[in-house]
Symmetry: C2
Subunit: 209 residues, 2 copies
Amino acid sequence: MNNLSKKEMTDLYPSLLLERAVSEISKLPGIGRKTALRLVLHLLRQDVGEVESLAQSITKLRKEVKHCHLCHNISDTDTCDICANPLRDHSTICVVENINNVLAIENTGQFRGVYHVLGGVISPIDGISPADLEIDSLVERVANGNVKEVIFALNPTMEGDTTGFYISRKLTGFDVLLTTLARGVSIGDELEYTDEVTLGRSIVNRTKL
Amino acid sequence: MNNLSKKEMTDLYPSLLLERAVSEISKLPGIGRKTALRLVLHLLRQDVGEVESLAQSITKLRKEVKHCHLCHNISDTDTCDICANPLRDHSTICVVENINNVLAIENTGQFRGVYHVLGGVISPIDGISPADLEIDSLVERVANGNVKEVIFALNPTMEGDTTGFYISRKLTGFDVLLTTLARGVSIGDELEYTDEVTLGRSIVNRTKL
């Protein structure tokens, strides 16, 4: 049961091209070398056209995608579809951390205002300070007038709360209503499994039936 | 709580480029639209060079990778590193289903022969017949002489067994030893949790200490 010597064995992968593709794909978040190899072997079985189409779609996206000059959401044009839509309520701005949050709120079909994408939340541990976020541009939008309400739709975490608090301080002095997402028991939740902080706050902030 | 009308709402994604990249990535096996979106948003945060490097590595692989003319393993050259290695034992051919199996066996460092990649196993349900596999080329390699042993390293499934049986019939008449992977209790397994077929066969085929 002697193992083969270095000379007798070949490298881990039989092809440098394969090795390179696996390394590149395994850089993606949540994809290890085993999954990357599985994806690469799948791609090898596809038509050249299919693989080129995948490759082009990601380079084209990265190179050509723009950010809306108003809300900083990603967009194919200088002004995104939401900001350009005259039927949306431009006096209500919903402040979110990232693009995913815009998609999540749009998905509900319950919001007819516009957005402001901060690009992150204040987090000293990760080295993200207010200057790294789109906070000044939000204050500018409010200062330009015509904004009646700013809704903070940030994650209910310490960083989200800190960011909301920081921005709310920046917006004092403007005649604008500041609101935040309702917090309470989730619909469909069982009370006995709801965490005590959420349950406690939902009793204190109970609403009229 | 009226939902927004179609006109007030925008499409699911704020960008056609994003939509296209998500669709392309979600075609990959085991990757749904949510994961695809997460990967795409990750790529958007990377340098253009990084994204190009990923895209190029997969198109280059698909376009330029070759299959070894002897063993049909993937390779950067006409003859793969294993078949071209004079230190390997070219009289022992290990028959495997696909490239993954070559990688798995090479990883053990216990095999100094060469391979033959069938490209699948006989499976009438999936419409794979012997003619779709590299069986004739294997028979040809054996017929050319200098082959002493053919090892069947196929998955212990009905399809694997059928394929092994089919090939063994094709190789009758040649002066070649046909062997198969040892089957028995896995090292590190607990006997009480070993399935009865494996345990039964390992008692019948017990080996001398």
